[in-house]
Amino acid sequence: MPEPIIQVEGLYKSYGAVEAVRGLSFAVEEGEVFGLLGPNGAGKTSTVEILEGMRTPDRGTARVCGLDPEKSGSAFKQTIGAVLQSTALPDKLKVKEALDLFASFYKDRANTEALLKRFQLEEKRDAFYKDLSGGQKQRLALAMALVNNPKVVFLDEPTAGLDPQVRREIYDIIEELRREKKTVLLTTHYIEEAERLCDRVAIVDHGKIIKTGTPRELKQSSAGTTRIEVRLARPAAEAALRGLDGVSDFRTMGDVYVLYASRAPQAIVSLVKHLEADNNELQSMEMYSPSLEDVFIELTGRRLRE
């Protein structure tokens, strides 16, 4: 069996008293798009930056393409491409200049004209970095991550802060990388991004991986239930809601009652009957088919973006 292209074992990283990464272990196979899904502060960026050779772990080992990111220096950097959580370039650097400059640092160089075309930056080739929109800057960051035809691409929150239209454009680009069988390690706190783009996902919280699997496996593990979120006029007895017909699990998140239903129609009927009998009222009701968000809530009791 081939060695995993990324291998992480027992990784720890602290910043003063804050333990950002607490014993993280995972492996990524060649050609896989692997996602680290978790809320802000979960330790995703610290992990990726250790793998990029930008940070030193306190303990544990990390290997990318068989190399130690911290100690292999230039040889290691020749093999990876990366988009940082926030990329900055000099204001008056032009788009084509940036690509040519970064390409010049590598032995294996991609055709920068082709990259401009692929990332729809041809018309902006002579534009200053400061004059680009957020989406254009992120497309340039992605293009720069590919100037050396890397074996492994690290994408740290590549769509954070972008509007939905631009986010979809970035998704298309990552899907293209997936079709090209590039190994991609992606961090995100967007559920739809992990579900749509990743072959496998590790759910990360408080510096630890709490579950790993394909998006389908993870969703199936959440008992395949429909999530029904309701707000009520008056507080309700939790035990009563938990015992409703069709409800398999229950929890509260602030003023929201979350019912997990294996048979959603029955659960709704019994809920309405219960509220009538209790002289209570429904203020709002939302239904969700099983998603990674459910898995996260099930595992942590919190939403991803709380």
Binding site: A82, L89, L93, M144
Partner: protein, 309 residues
Amino acid sequence: MASNPVSNTWSLTKIRIRLAMRNKMFLFFSLLMPLIFLFLFVMLWGKGSPMKINFILGGVLTLTVMGGFWGLSVQLVSFREQGILRRFRLAPLGSGPMLASSIVANFILVVPFVFFEMVVAKFILHMAVWGNVPAIFFLVMVGSATFSAFGLVVASVTNTMQETQIINQLIWMVFLFLSGATIPLAVFPDWIKRITLFSPATYLAVGLQSAATDQVVGAEFVTEAVALVLGLLVAFEISRRIFRWEPEAKVPTSAKVWVLAALIPFVIFGAYENYSGKMLKRVGTMMSFIDRPSGAAAAKPAPDSQPDR
């Protein structure tokens, strides 16, 4: 073509030159300001002997060359603060090419400015002679590299732009007024003259003033050149060792000790010059030479030189 430190340095150098040429502030401070100083100083102190214009030009060239000290440190700190250096850190680059490109770019940018100032001094201000041109360009080359390296040391030991500006202002004041570049050393009391011998700027200013007035004396020129080259090597190595890519990386205490090490060559040369008295004697000789109305004739004027005073 394989990626290597030399080609990486050259790629960065080309970009840094382009970025500098797109920066109006840089053009103002590097090109226009020295010219303003040149005209101002000539108006104030240039009367009496055509060689005075040569002497003034030596000081103005010193200011032009030392300018790299400012621009580079501020740019590097701003790149670090904005997270630009982090993106470069991902590439197979060491701190060496990053720092060396600053120095090479500064040198390439300074040479045409120096040439332009010499042309203005010669044809508009009617400078007496061209001076010792090879010596001028040698000192420009070494001086621009040395003062750029000092700028990089400051950038490496400061955390914010504000800190950089304060430290730069303090050092710049010393370079400006205690070197002979703006106020001739000869006018200072003896104890101040002796202090100036510990400043790197003095070696550059006296060297360029000697070269511009064609008063270069071989052995003393070597002293100035060696002091500047040693300063360059020590400052470059120190800035390379304490270079920081990350905005949040704070300066280690040991780095501050390293900064003091950058001054060691000038402490040694300052002690030597204080002991031998050669440099101060030469400054005195140069002043009496340029004050002579016939100074132009005593020098080796270029054939087309037509002083009109």
